[in-house]
């Protein structure tokens, strides 16, 4: 059974059609990348998958491990193992990283019929996973994302991914705003989290991230549709030839 199966997905926001028939299948263990020009609908796809309420699905279906994903609330999706690394992580003044993470982890454990995590285990896990993305443990005493640098915010997303161990991780332009060093750190973290039973959907505008996180499949999205799918070389070709090349090819006969 596919981890994620998107069929003919149409979605709109405030009456503007953005996704116009997306087809996409991801199997466990695979890393898929979606590239495309600005405004092509990449981030909308991520939002629809995570359940952002402003987006309305008008047609098509999304199945996650065989279940109808669109029926689920955002939190139910998270508990079932979907994780969205935000393009713009939200600052939550007054919500401590520790409390936030503990509540998130315990929600998941409760959903899986497990007991609450023990304080010592939680601390250990937190230190371990923070190290994965070189996140300063001192940040755990701060409010979520408040006063974090751009790079820290993005690393914090991957850190949370590592803490919550999802089955499907969606990275929405995690590379935007990162310099090359930060990009490497984030990519290293993601690579360490690749696993047989975990799929990744990596949304990016630039090919550079894919030098470090080597994808199994690359899709190109233009104007709300996936217009081309290929192996990792497609990303390189795209970088060389630009999106106009695809646009030219994609013009219907």
């Amino acid at each position: 059974m596919a981890l994620l199966e998107v069929k003919n997905l149409h979605a709109s926001v405030e009456d503007t059609n953005i996704l116009k028939g997306v087809d996409l299948t991801i199997d466990g263990g695979q890393v898929h990348a979606i590239m495309g020009p600005n405004g092509s609908g990449k981030s909308t796809l991520a939002s629809v998958l995570a359940g952002r309420e402003e987006y309305e699905v008008s047609e098509g279906s999304v199945h996650y491990l065989g279940e109808d994903l669109l029926e689920l609330e955002p939190d139910e999706r998270a508990l079932e193992g979907i994780f969205l690394a935000f393009q713009y992580p939200v600052e939550l003044p007054g919500v401590s990283m520790m409390n936030f993470l503990k509540q998130a982890i315990n929600s998941k454990r409760e959903h899986q019929g497990q007991e609450e995590i023990k304080a010592a285990d939680f601390m250990k896990l937190m230190r371990e996973r923070a190290e994965l993305v070189s996140l300063d443990p001192k940040l755990m005493r701060r409010s979520v994302n408040e006063g974090f640098s751009g790079g820290e915010k993005k690393r914090n997303e991957i850190f949370q991914l590592a803490m919550l161990e999802p089955k499907l991780a969606i990275l929405d332009e995690t590379d935007s705003g990162l310099d090359i060093d930060a990009l490497r750190v984030v990519a290293d973290g993601v690579n360490k989290l690749r696993a047989e039973d975990r799929g990744f959907l990596i949304i990016t505008h630039y090919q550079r991230l894919l030098d470090y996180i080597v994808p199994d499949v690359v899709h190109v999205m233009v104007d709300g549709k996936i217009v081309k799918t290929g192996g990792k070389d497609l990303a390189i070709e795209l970088e060389e030839k630009g999106y106009d090349w695809i646009r030219g090819e994609a013009v219907p006969a």
Binding site: A50, G51, R52, E53, E73, P74, D75, R77, A78, L79, F83, L84, F86, P89, V90, L92, P93, G94, V95, N99, F100, Q103, A104, S107, K108, H111, S143, Q160, L164
Partner: protein
């Protein structure tokens, strides 16, 4: 028989004047001459001033007339409502070792109090008891900070007050444990209470005073309270006020603080319930190098009306004041905040900061917020900021995307909003209690 306000068609003022004349010479005499003189002055000022009219600027958003109209019984003679230690127990702060003073309907109840051992010279007792036992101390301070000349509610309280609480901390003495004043309302009929509080921290003294107002009955009550506090040179005084007397209670609180140089005063006002609550808080840092901190948290719901009017009157140079009031307003509740900072002409090098933030949780919730900075000195640093918003949808979605339910996410964000006020509660056990309370108030509904 308790004296009840006349039901005849007359002005609200006349009803009080009639009650005063009827009781004067008997129960209202007070225990010493200074108080008696004060009462005479106060009732005259009350008559001259009159209650604020509907159009009065200071009461523009708060219809105090509405709660004045009822036929309250006045507690002018001691009664003994049946209140037990079990009734009081839920109002204590768990795990807090404190000097507990209990007031029942504004009167000191010694049997229910457990004041415990105090440092030499320190006094924690009822206001009437203090006036009898320590007239010199009381006379030196009472009426000095609360202005019954110009404030009608203070005048009314001064004329009618029967009891309340008194805390005195002598020079260079530290009250290690907080004083917890638990005021309980237990009424069979609509009741008006006018308790008086006098808190004195002499030079270099330190004290923490917590006041909790609760009710065990649900008649209409109107409490017109006056708090006078005095912080001597280098004194530290922390004051917490927790207003939670239920949906039928109305409160008019005049809290007036006086500060000598180098003193540090913190006030924290928490309003959790009440039909109408009006707090007039006025701080007067009257010596150089004072610090004044004013915090407030209002949780409004179900038609509550909560109005905080604060004044920091910088009458001396080189002082610091900071103010933070937060409002969480739900249902059809209304919150009002008016924060005035006055820097007088010779008060140079003042740093004064004020902010107030409000979250409106329903379409019918209202907030009226007005900062007033009046600066007559030229070398000052003052700022104010006010924000009003609704719950951030993106923040909710962010939390949901991590597995928290909508209700959990909402609760977490609302408690977080209140966090920086809660964080300034320096009594750990009280902070824990308030934290639990706020969390439960907004917690996921079962």
């Amino acid at each position: 028989m308790p004296q009840t306000l006349e039901k005849i068609e007359t002005t609200p003022e006349e009803r009080f004047l009639t009650a005063f004349r009827a009781a004067d010479g008997t129960t209202l005499n007070g225990s010493n001459s200074r108080l008696h003189t004060l009462r005479k002055e106060a009732i005259e000022r009350f008559e001259a001033l009159g209650f604020p009219k509907r159009k009065a600027e200071a009461y523009k958003y708060t219809n105090i007339q509405k709660v004045l109209k009822r036929n309250y019984a006045l507690e002018l003679a001691p009664r003994d409502p049946h209140v037990t230690a079990d009734d009081i127990a839920p109002f204590l702060v768990p795990d807090l070792d404190a000097h507990v003073l209990v007031l029942v309907n504004g009167r000191f109840n010694e049997a229910l109090s457990s004041i415990g051992e105090l440092p030499d010279g320190a006094i924690v007792t009822g206001f009437a008891e203090a006036a009898r036992q320590h007239p010199d101390l009381v006379e030196a301070h009472v009426g000095q900070y609360a202005d019954h000349e110009n404030d009608v509610f203070i005048a009314l309280n001064t004329a009618f007050t029967q009891d309340g609480a008194f805390v005195y901390v002598p020079k260079s003495t530290v009250l290690e444990k907080p004083v917890h004043i638990v005021s309980v309302v237990a009424a069979e009929e609509d009741l008006m209470l006018q308790p008086r509080y006098l808190f004195i921290a002499e030079e270099n003294a330190q004290a923490t005073i917590i006041q909790t107002g609760r009710a065990i009955t649900d008649t209409h009550t109107f409490t017109n309270a006056v708090v006078e506090s005095y912080a001597g040179r280098n004194a530290h005084l922390d004051h917490y006020e927790i207003q939670d007397e239920g949906p039928k209670s109305a409160i008019h609180l005049s809290s007036q603080g006086y500060q000598h140089e180098h003193s540090v005063v913190r006030t924290n006002a928490f309003t959790f319930s009440g039909e109408l609550v009006r707090n007039n808080l006025r701080m007067l840092p009257d010596g150089a190098h004072c610090e004044s901190h004013l915090y407030g948290l209002v949780l409004g719901r179900d038609g509550m009306h909560v109005d905080n009017h604060t004044v920091v009157d910088h009458a001396a140079p080189d002082c610091y004041s900071s103010e933070l009031y937060k409002h969480l307003v739900d249902d059809d509740a209304t919150a009002v905040f008016n924060g005035r900072v006055l820097v007088r002409q010779d008060s140079q090098r003042i740093n004064a900061y004020q902010s107030n933030d409000s979250l409106l949780l329903s379409e019918d919730a209202d907030i009226y917020s007005k900062p007033e900075l009046e600066i007559y000195a030229d070398d000052v640093e003052c700022s104010h900021g006010a924000t009003t918003g609704t719950l951030d949808k993106e923040a909710i979605f962010y939390l949901q995307s991590r597995g928290l339910s909508y209700a959990e996410a909402r609760a977490l964000l609302l408690v977080a909003f209140a966090r920086d006020v809660l964080d300034n509660v320096k009594v750990e056990a009280l902070e824990a209690l308030l934290d639990t309370y706020v969390t439960a108030r907004f917690g996921p509904q079962a």
